[in-house]
Symmetry: C2
Subunit: 226 residues, 2 copies
Amino acid sequence: MYFCGNMYFMTRSEENYIKTIFHLGNKGTRDVSTNAIAEIMETKPSSVTDMIKRLSEKGLVNYKRYQGVSLTSLGTKTALGIIRKHRLWEVFLVEKLDFSWDEVHEVAEQLEHIKSDKLIDSLDRLLAYPKFDPHGDPIPDKNGSFKERDRKLLSEVPVNTAGLCVGVKDSSTTFLKFLDKNGIALGNRIKVLEIEEFDGSLNIEIEGRKMQISNVIASNLYINVE
Amino acid sequence: MYFCGNMYFMTRSEENYIKTIFHLGNKGTRDVSTNAIAEIMETKPSSVTDMIKRLSEKGLVNYKRYQGVSLTSLGTKTALGIIRKHRLWEVFLVEKLDFSWDEVHEVAEQLEHIKSDKLIDSLDRLLAYPKFDPHGDPIPDKNGSFKERDRKLLSEVPVNTAGLCVGVKDSSTTFLKFLDKNGIALGNRIKVLEIEEFDGSLNIEIEGRKMQISNVIASNLYINVE
DNA sequence: ACAAATTTTTAGGCTCGACTAAATTCTAGT
DNA sequence: ACTAGAATTTAGTCGAGCCTAAAAATTTGT
């Protein structure tokens, strides 16, 4: 396993696998399963096995037959690089090109594969070194380090807790559009007034207004508890 | 041959062929030869034949065996779309990310394949609808139309002609770096003072300074004759 | 603990976009 | 007009990245 500055050449497909393994591996503690990767990537388990072997030979993942897969440190570094690019492009799209936060994902999926260190460093500078993307997710720095913001799901804080809305767990178009429609945005100040025993729905005060949201909504919104 | 708004799906490779055919076809009047394409694309003639057949089936090129190839109107429209994207990204890199004009090409070659109408329209707006890229080449608008600037090669104007330097013919890194080193940039005012009989070199006045340039240099610089 | 169900891997095929080698067609020089 | 040489195409191969079907390993239920 030798380094060569710019790493090996990686295909788009390899990068997408690495990214997916990273996202899956960061949730649970166990190794990532072939099926899980296949499902997320909308491909077949047999294709995943093929690719995992290639990635394993390149030293990007640890792999033992039938035992699932995990990223090596090189693989993790690679994943963080891709995620950094994805999130910086998202910020660019929203800040400079007036995309709304539900429109950025698809384009960023393409842009994240552009290979140029100078490009991404300059972009970072243009955007004034943002720490979070438009959905509140942290942007790794050049070296791959980032600090997860101290945040809690709105559904898991006690009554009377207040804080700023700092992120969404689900960043699907559907959910983001729903938030837009109901005037909920990152940075809004939210206070939990009451939690309904029956269905877990919440009465909240948001930017002065009062409203009720379902438990499903609340369990996809992060707040920065004060 | 049916249109479907966003055209067919085109692979990166197909787009690169179309672009190359466009550039080659715009010079001469004859159809573009297989060998010429192969040379530019650093591939083999047999690979070119393969691809041409595919492009022909998609209605992007006119092709008869052994007779060379030319773009259909759909092919031309496609080519102009790619060139528009390439040149807009070049402007972006120079204007917003402080790239120098010899650094933009490689990255723009990647960015030109990003697929998003909204992206490119917004970029165009961010850049205030530029008409020319950093090398002085015209940027087609949304509909593919652009006006070639009225310009002449510096090597082909008579003594005492003056004008603004508006473009380069050769935009290789080597040439652009040479111009930088000698303080020649787009927008500079140039006047031809004398043309050397012997080797065709020129004595010019540029932004007040006097200097001598070889005929090779002069035949790669465009000026906008007043 | 062991059969059934599930997960994962292997084996073999397919398409795209490249290649080499060989055949074909065109073009130029006499 | 004919032939040598150049350009082009065909035929067959290969790797990446996907697929299906079938085999192998693991996990689960009793």
